[in-house]
Symmetry: C2
Subunit: 261 residues, 2 copies
């Protein structure tokens, strides 16, 4: 039983933000630190439970003194460190820490394409956008996501929080999008880019049962090199005076629009 604050694990209590372990954990706030250790942080009860449901067990839990550990966690075999609220503030990447952080091992998904729905992400850089795109793709029943070069790190804290756990639900791999387009083509899966110029209104496309949608960078869109290799390039029509749509919003409209016609 690891959740006893008062007995054997009392030694695992950190009261100073200068403790070397705190410094070590804080390295996981950066991509470099995460890549070096092949680890990442998740914050909050809900995300930790979502990870666990998907077979990702924390290597270690960090719990602040005020945190009320859920009863169904009591049989986890996981080392705990209790910390003061000040140390938790230091470790948390949010303004209002939830009082619990898990250190997890990075996981490698396998994505072997077959008939289905795929999302290719080309250099989307805002963590909130990538997280929201993953959550939305999960809702829309996408079977796998390829995170292309130049996209933000999947294990970025804001990405993880914005996915609301969806990064644990479906395979997400890093990959070269040109190679992926080739692979999908050999399976006769149509690949749709997104482009404002020389594109086609998505309403004109017959709803395909298998497809790959490719969305791109916030400012530049999908790179021209990739747009050349697609079966068609789609756009979301603008009926009002807005100049453009946020990339996560456009992704949502297209994924649901292609599915539901």
């Amino acid at each position: 039983m690891y959740f006893d604050k008062d007995e054997e694990f009392v030694m695992n209590r950190i009261e100073s933000a200068k403790n070397p372990k705190v410094k070590q954990w804080k390295k996981l706030h950066t991509k470099k630190g995460r890549d070096t250790d092949h680890q990442f942080l998740i914050e909050g009860t809900h995300l930790i439970e979502e990870a666990r449901k998907s077979g990702i067990d924390p290597l270690e839990l960090i719990i602040s003194e005020e945190y009320d550990v859920p009863k169904n966690w009591s049989d986890w075999q996981v080392p705990i460190t209790y910390v003061t609220d000040r140390v938790m503030m230091e470790l948390s990447e949010t303004k209002s820490p939830q009082g619990v952080i898990a250190i997890c091992q990075q996981f490698e998904h396998q994505l072997i394409p077959s008939q289905g729905r795929y999302l290719l992400i080309d250099a989307v850089q805002d963590p909130g956008n990538v997280g929201t795109i993953i959550r939305t793709a999960d809702a829309a029943g996408v079977d796998g996501i390829v995170l292309g070069d130049g996209s933000v790190d999947l294990y970025n804290g804001k990405v993880i929080r914005s996915t609301q756990g969806s990064l644990f639900h479906l395979p997400i791999v890093k990959g070269n999008l040109l190679e992926w387009i080739e692979k999908l083509k050999t399976l006769d899966i149509p690949v749709y880019g997104t482009a404002l110029e020389n594109g086609q209104d998505y309403n004109e496309i017959e709803s395909p049962s298998s497809f790959a949608l490719m969305v791109g960078n916030e400012g530049e869109g999908v790179s021209k090199e990739l747009l050349k290799e697609t079966d068609a390039n789609l756009y979301v029509p603008i009926y009002g005076k807005a100049e453009s749509l946020n990339v996560a919003i456009a992704t949502a409209i297209l994924l649901y629009g292609l599915r539901n016609k």
Copy 2:
């Protein structure tokens, strides 16, 4: 000519963040300060130009020394204050200030409902969500937005930035949503709430040429009191394992989905 750094307006130069004018401007970062003065701040070239295109002329411009004033601004009759980069950092609500801030008078839109598309927002509290919803509604050709009680202030800096200027493109009014539902009903405009329980898949609804869509709070959804008064309550089907969609994402799927079937 007001844009001459070196001549008559040199007196309008602020070098200290403790200058009383800086303190006065900073009050506009809070709803209370904005409501007291009936003013608000907008940051950056693009937003200021969008405001001006819609007839909202700044009362005053604050410009940092490094800012390169667009040539076509040179005939504006507007008082300028030049500030140091440090003062600009103090005044800006973003991490990377663009070097220009405008003080504007709050504007009152009129929204007299007739046949068309409307969006009713019930207590959406995250500024990024409300801003993105306004931008998306503008793109989807919505004719007017009613911001119900409990929603974040329209003049919040993050709301304005997330709209990307769309708050200047279409009428947005504050209002009591129960009263608005009544008004719309007298015009035979169907009002669709959004609800996960006892709702209807939006794909089952025939695309109406006039409608009002009502979206709600991030955690609670649309209030039950309002859901009782609608013609139907819609949901976006979840095909994967995500538990829910972000409210701005759901709004986008519904606005485009209702329009494009």
